[in-house]
């Protein structure tokens, strides 16, 4: 039974990825639609970021001075000025570790 569910899950995931790539032709999307689609990363990723920072494991809100909140603010500032993916991730992780291990 588990195997069937896993295979169907794989198929669902694959076809979610494949369907639009294979289906859409250039003329099908208007200029406006293309512009709206360019917002997709900004519309999807925050839905993963915000709950992971603002909520704890049990789903309750963390305090405003929680290490995760301070660290993500550091990462935003460093990322904003450096424009580097690696600097954003590392500055956030390192400031998080400094807060939980040293302070």
């Amino acid at each position: 039974m588990n195997w069937i569910i896993i295979f169907i899950s794989g198929l669902i995931t694959y076809f979610l990825r494949f369907s639009m790539i294979s289906f859409i032709k250039k003329d099908m999307l208007s200029e406006k639609t293309k512009i709206v689609l360019s917002y997709v990363p900004s519309a999807v990723f925050p839905a993963i970021i915000f709950p992971a920072v603002l909520l704890d494991n049990s789903g309750s809100y963390v305090d405003y001075n929680d290490p995760k909140i301070i660290a993500i603010l550091v990462a935003i500032i460093v990322g904003y000025f450096s424009k580097k993916i690696i600097a954003t991730i590392l500055s956030g992780l390192i400031s998080y570790w400094i807060i939980i291990f040293l302070l």
């Binding site: 899950s9 990825r17 512009i35 997709v40 519309a43 904003y80 993916i85 991730i89 590392l90």
Partner: protein, 231 residues
């Protein structure tokens, strides 16, 4: 002109920083699967067949909790529905490819490789063979995902929990949109999505991501219309 190998390697190097959270996440996934009572073969098979961390966690949690197949599969579909949008976004850059290429690249279209390769496509619209970037980023991510899942299955918790590496996941996604923080329209979309997802976090089928995304895209549509009308 850039060779196919050069573009492939560009994809490899662009996705490299994102492996900092992906590798520990793969290990954690392997550990969780075993802890929830699945056999090593089943746990590894999900990384190969489904190849989507968030959906794999949902699968393990729901099957082990005794959820019905319909609930489990609906949750997987809802969790991964964002990939539907990724396909729509990159489709215009992959249009010239034959169906075999599209079928192969689809398998590798994860959050991370989508984000880095879409950025490359936008900046290199006229470059021939630019799809090798997605192959490079996708294959790299896939390889690390397979290895790290296996490490989690057979070596157990080799990454100390105290390090709090799950926090690296939101940091990765932040790094992927950090260049948009300079644009007011994007900031509005970002905060709409983030705040709504937090408010909707408890709704069923893990639907908070796609629900917040959909409303944020409505806001993006309104912004786009205002911009068009002002031209």
């Amino acid at each position: 002109m850039l060779s196919k190998t050069n573009i492939f390697l560009k994809g490899f190097f662009d996705v490299l920083p994102l492996l900092i959270p992906v590798a520990p996440f793969g290990i954690i996934l392997g550990v969780i699967g075993i802890e929830l009572g699945f056999s090593p073969l089943v746990v590894y098979a999900t990384s190969f067949i489904v190849f989507s961390g968030s959906a794999q966690i949902v699968l393990f949690e729901l099957i082990s909790a005794g959820a019905t197949p319909l609930v489990t599969l609906t949750s997987v579909a809802v969790t991964n529905s964002r990939h539907f949008l990724y396909g729509a976004v990159v489709s215009e850059y992959l249009e010239e490819l034959n169906i075999t290429w599209k079928a192969i690249l689809s398998y590798f279209l994860t959050d991370q490789s989508f984000a880095v390769s879409y950025r490359y496509f936008k900046q290199n619209i006229t470059v021939p063979n630019k799809h090798y970037h997605l192959l490079g980023s996708g294959l790299t991510l896939w390889t690390i995902w397979q290895i790290s899942t296996l490490m989690g299955i057979f070596l157990g918790t080799i990454v100390p929990e105290e390090l709090g590496l799950t926090f690296a996941i939101p940091l990765t996604f932040l790094s992927l949109i950090i260049h948009e923080f300079r644009k007011l329209d994007h900031i509005i979309v970002i905060f709409t999505s983030g705040i709504l997802a937090t408010l909707f976090y408890d709704i069923s089928f893990k639907a908070y991501i796609i629900l917040a995304t959909s409303i944020a895209l409505v806001v993006a549509t309104i912004i786009t219309n205002i911009k068009f009308n002002n031209k």
